[in-house]
């Protein structure tokens, strides 16, 4: 199981813009590299990242081979209500991982 680090403030004021930082363990094999024997190493990347806030999609990114290993993505959202942020990374070789973070909005 890959590991992920998510940074979401535990508390925020209603209407406040919060920063969300995500880091996930993944090799992001480009598909352009070859072994010393000249065999192409198949692509193995995360190609989709989605964040939902109480079920509604607030951010989506399509990643390509040019994203560094262990993808780090930072984005923002307006704290609208208390609830759960859900993060899903998916990609090659049926890779899929979902993590959640809770936020209290006052």
């Amino acid at each position: 199981m890959a590991r992920a680090l998510i940074n979401v403030p535990a508390k925020a004021k209603r209407g406040e813009v919060i920063t969300i930082k995500t880091l996930i363990s993944h090799v992001m094999e480009t598909g352009f590299r070859h072994t010393t024997m000249g065999v192409r190493i198949p692509r193995d990347i995360i190609d989709t990242f989605v964040c939902t806030y109480n079920g509604e999609e607030i951010f989506r990114a399509t990643l390509h081979s040019a994203i560094a290993a262990n993808p780090f993505i930072t984005f923002h959202t307006v704290a609208t209500e208390s609830g759960t942020l859900t993060f899903t990374w998916s990609g090659d070789s049926q890779f899929s991982q979902t993590e959640t973070a809770n936020i209290v909005v006052e």
Partner: protein, 162 residues
């Protein structure tokens, strides 16, 4: 691409100069493993066209922040910010980043909306060589805006795979 095999890139020249400057004669150490990288304008144009269609791309509104010099092309910090009030009527719909010399020019495409509050995306990217980057933002009114940046990738001598 026979041109690719013969071209002496700036990277090689820098590598040679670096070894000399260090007062050390280490030609084998200074030979980059993946030296020859050239821009592929056609692939870049196609990738951009897929995003903007036939629309005009304006300069401005977008800020692309990258280090002018990076110690390694494997993880270059990238920040794209767009000027926008981020309201229901006037907001950023998407942000796209392209690299002119990577084998595949697409880097990342992000979809956001008024709920983002701040149209800013940060990530870390791979750059095959010193090159230009292009960030394009699509606004809710259908217009496209662009910023460019350049990163010099310095070449390390002591690489693990020789």
């Amino acid at each position: 691409m026979s041109k690719r095999e013969h071209a002496t890139t700036r990277r090689q020249v820098l590598a040679g100069a670096g070894a000399l400057a260090g007062g050390l004669s280490l030609p084998t150490l200074a030979t980059p493993a993946h030296a020859q990288v050239q821009a592929n304008p056609a692939a870049l144009a196609i990738a951009i066209q897929k995003v903007v269609g036939g629309a005009k791309i304006n300069d401005g509104k977008v800020k692309l922040e990258v280090p002018p010099l990076s110690e390694n092309g494997n993880a270059v910090a990238l920040t794209v910010t767009v000027e926008s009030p981020m309201t229901a009527k006037d907001h950023v719909k998407s942000i796209h980043v392209f690299a002119e010399k990577n084998l595949q020019p697409n880097v990342i495409s992000a979809k956001l909306g008024p709920r983002a509050g701040l149209p800013m995306v940060q990530t870390r990217i791979r750059l095959a060589d010193t090159q230009d980057l292009i960030a394009i933002a699509e606004l809710s009114d259908g217009t496209f805006w662009r910023a460019t940046g350049n990163v010099i990738i310095t070449l390390g001598a002591c690489l693990e795979d020789g």
